[in-house]
């Protein structure tokens, strides 16, 4: 064995492509001049490939929960909780709200508006359903886009984790433009979301609709994929009583 024999660390770094082209060339010359070294490097390459093969996705158990049977109450919640946390953060930061304002808002029903920390509370709540109510009372076009992005993210995350998520958006008051056929800023986006995620339901307050109609002196049409409920406040209270997680936007 030559004194110039590269160390094992160097040989491994060579196999892993960690060198600059110049250093690689120097090591390559050493390897090429020594048959034993060449064989050793080939073994390293093969070993590396074997490890990669042993953990190829098709050889892995698809899900740990199926594998062990009993579901872990923690897991299913994390992703949804993350979505809720992100949504709440999005609502606070990007919809122009802050904690003080939220704290100062009059409660719609028994609970206060959900903050980012509530995601963790949700995660910790055993037996809590994955149902989220978004009470949209005030929103502009830019904020609406953010809201829809967050809704999509929640469903993507839930799907990714095989979760069954239900989200109901209850729109009322001055946010009604969001769901009006004549004024909605993102009708196609909403249609796509509703048709893509069966767990998403967009509802509009019938009382608000009637008030807008009176004020404008004409019939106001909702987007076809928006359902009318008798009262937004009543719907929010009803869902909250049913255990839905309430988020005021």
């Amino acid at each position: 064995m030559s004194d110039l024999r590269p160390s094992d660390e160097i040989l491994n770094a060579f196999v892993d492509g960690q060198f600059s082209p110049e250093d690689r060339l120097v090591t390559l010359k050493s390897i090429a001049g020594d048959e034993g070294l060449s064989r050793e490097v080939c073994d390293m390459v093969q070993l590396k490939e074997l490890v990669a093969m042993a953990y190829r996705p098709e050889f892995l158990p698809e899900t740990g929960r199926e594998h062990h049977g009993a579901p872990d109450s923690r897991g299913p919640w994390w992703a949804v909780a993350a979505g809720v946390a992100v949504l709440a953060l999005g609502a606070m930061v990007f919809l122009g709200l802050d904690r003080d304002r939220i704290a100062g808002d009059p409660p719609i029903a028994a609970g206060d508006a959900v903050t980012a920390d509530a995601g963790h509370d949700l995660a910790a709540a055993p037996g809590h359903d994955q149902r989220v109510l978004l009470h949209v009372t005030e929103i502009d076009s830019a904020s609406a886009k953010v809201l829809l992005d967050d809704v999509e993210f929640m469903f993507e995350t839930a799907l990714l984790n095989g979760q069954d998520l239900q989200v109901q958006m209850v729109v009322h008051g001055i946010a009604m433009d969001l769901v009006r056929a004549d004024l909605a800023p993102f009708p196609e986006r909403m249609r796509t979301l509703v048709s893509t995620y069966p767990g998403l339901r967009i509802t509009a307050c019938g009382q608000s609709l009637a008030r807008h109609a009176r004020e404008e002196g004409r019939v106001i049409e909702l987007l076809p994929w928006v359902q009318e409920v008798e009262s937004g406040v009543h719907e929010a209270a009803r869902r909250q009583a049913e255990g839905w997680t309430y988020i005021r936007v």
Binding site: D43, Q46, L47, L50, M53, L60, T63, W78, A81
Partner: protein
């Protein structure tokens, strides 16, 4: 808005990493349920702490580092009751003898299980995820020299284990290794 869009893109990238995270977690613990838990916990933490990420280009290493910490935390919690390195390879993950390929898979996994935790982690990060040594150094929070020495010793040990798995008989893995370059 631009910041938010960037955050959203990063969030999606974190979600897209799930298969990679799971593969590596499984290679570390060889327990599907635990691997699933580690991935879930790491993703949750990553998603909720995304705003603290300093360098977007380092997202992958950052998420893997979070999972490494989750695994360490789990190890600490289990220390009094379970020796990680003594865990048996679950039988339903050992499709032994069904096909030559499955047997090789089982042998490699068995050998990986016999590595120390440190060695198993570094091999997984380099061979499964293709991390550069500098990134592994970040993920595991050890100097790059330590990464190199661990990797070198891990592979040497892995090769020895594969050779020893079938005393008196040629290992199919060894056969594959030796015939491949002859």
């Amino acid at each position: 808005m631009a910041t938010w869009l960037a955050q959203r893109r990063l969030r999606q990238q974190v979600c897209d990493m799930r298969p990679q995270l799971y593969r590596t977690a499984y290679a570390w613990c060889h327990d599907a349920a635990l691997a699933d838990d580690l991935v879930q916990e790491a993703m949750m933490k990553a998603l909720t702490r995304l705003k603290t990420l300093q360098d977007e280009a380092a997202l992958k290493a950052w998420v893997f580092r979070i999972m490494t910490n989750c695994y360490r935390d789990w190890g600490r919690r289990q220390k009094d009751t379970v020796d990680v390195d003594s865990l048996e390879l679950p039988c339903d993950d050992c499709p032994e003898s069904q096909t030559e390929r499955n047997r090789i898979v089982a042998e490699v996994r068995r050998a990986m299980m016999q590595l120390s935790e440190d060695h198993r982690q570094v091999v997984s990060l380099v061979d499964l995820e293709g991390f550069a040594y500098s990134e592994v150094s970040e993920v595991l929070d050890v100097p790059i020299g330590t990464v190199m020495s661990r990797l070198s010793r891990a592979r040497a040990h892995l090769r020895k284990l594969l050779l020893e798995q079938r005393p008196g008989k040629p290992s199919p893995v060894l056969t594959l290794v030796t015939t491949a370059h002859e």
